[in-house]
């Protein structure tokens, strides 16, 4: 991601990014035990809604997919289904130590250790689990990244689909998602990277 590409964003894109960052909707799908820190963040004390972040219930309406905590292989299969249903631009936030390097369940036979092998991750939040103050700071960091135009990891899924798909197959085998990623990538003009 060269800096020259970023500074050459047109004025229109900068304005849109500035407006877009003020309204992010997270998918209220609590994948693991880290999700227990989300209700305090949404309610009166820490009030996430003042940043424009609201919980939404279906993947089609959400921008942020929060992987809160450990992700077992069984859940990963469903999370891939959900991720592919989301409408781009979309941001995956790895929440908690388990998504970074296995966390507390590092020696378990059925949880994945490193989330960014299966999905392109925008941001990791360390902690077991991160407190609402950390969540709010993390979301602010995400908002800043969107503002600067760096939050484009969703394109990475189209560009490097072979890499992600290979890891997904290795983890849980074949799955029918009704989304043809390669042809979608060509349709939206995202070229595949030459690896």
């Amino acid at each position: 991601m060269a800096d020259t590409e970023l500074t050459q964003r047109g004025a229109w894109n900068k304005v849109i990014a500035n407006l877009k960052k003020r309204s992010l909707w997270m998918l209220h799908y609590c994948t693991g035990c880290g999700a227990v820190e989300l209700p305090p963040t949404m309610t009166s004390r820490f009030d996430m809604e003042r940043f424009g972040i609201m919980p939404m219930v279906t993947p089609r309406q959400a921008d942020i997919l929060l992987i809160t905590g450990y992700l077992s292989v069984k859940t990963l299969k469903r999370v891939i289904l959900i991720y592919e249903q989301m409408v781009a631009p979309k941001y995956v936030v790895g929440f908690g130590s388990c998504t970074i390097n296995g966390g507390m369940y590092w020696n378990s036979y059925s949880t994945i250790k490193s989330l960014d092998q299966y999905l392109p991750v925008e941001l990791f939040l360390a902690g077991c689990m991160p407190r609402p103050e950390a969540i709010v700071t993390g979301f602010n960091a995400l908002i800043d990244r969107i503002d600067r135009g760096e939050a484009n990891s969703w394109e990475d899924y189209y560009k490097n689909y072979d890499f992600y798909h290979k890891n997904q197959l290795h983890a849980f085998g074949e799955i029918e998602t009704h989304h043809d990623i390669k042809s979608d990538g060509r349709y939206f003009g995202i070229a595949e990277a030459q690896r």
Binding site: G102, N107, Y109, S110, D116, V121, R145, S153, F172
Partner: protein, 202 residues
């Protein structure tokens, strides 16, 4: 026992004790009657003992119908690697007498197989499927031994003692080479391949 077990007054602990002891004695008597050795009363509400694999079904049936142990609390499995045996423990509870009976059954570890008790308690199939998935014990007579916990699992039954979870995790998953520096206060320090989070205080 039927006269003593329904007291509901302040005498209840003593009466329950008395009732439990008589239920326990009854259990021990049934065990002796069914030619099952080694039952003993461990406390006012606990009876424990060993049962043969072959006699367990009739023992459980007798417990249920003659002594009133209507509740199957759980079936659990212990892996005795050194002895080459699995130990299935059946926990039965009596609502009337507040007494727990745990029947320990030893079966051979290789091609482990045991008779099912789902004809007595249909929900026992839940426990039997769990033990089948996690230990590899086949329950004869249970037609519904489908996987429900590890639905995409292709490896050996993971709760066996000779399955080392850490080695399996190292073989099948890749870890990051990750040395965080805790100097940056907020979110700095992780410089992995994706998603560098720059804190808002820069």
């Amino acid at each position: 026992m039927s006269g003593q077990s329904k007291t509901m007054d302040t005498d209840r602990p003593a009466a329950a004790l008395g009732a439990a002891r008589s239920a326990a004695d009854l259990v021990v008597a049934i065990a002796a009657d069914a030619n099952v050795a080694g039952f003993s009363v461990k406390g006012p509400r606990r009876v424990e003992g060993r049962v043969d694999a072959a006699s367990l079904h009739s023992f459980a049936s007798a417990l249920r119908t003659r002594v009133g142990f209507e509740h199957l609390s759980a079936i659990s499995c212990v892996d005795w690697l050194a002895d080459g045996q699995f130990e299935l423990v059946y926990h039965f509870w009596s609502y009337r007498d507040n007494c727990l009976v745990s029947a320990h059954v030893r079966i051979a570890r290789d091609s482990a197989s045991m008779e099912t008790i789902t004809d007595l308690w249909q929900p026992a199939s839940f426990f039997e499927r769990d033990i089948h998935e996690m230990f590899g014990v086949t329950f004869q007579g249970n037609t519904d031994l489908e996987k429900y916990i590890l639905t995409d699992w292709a490896g050996p039954p993971p709760m066996r003692k000779d399955f080392v979870s850490r080695d399996f995790a190292h073989d099948h998953f890749e870890f990051k080479d990750y040395e965080p520096s805790w100097d940056d206060l907020v979110t700095g320090g992780y410089h992995g391949s994706r998603g560098v989070a720059e804190g808002s205080n820069e």
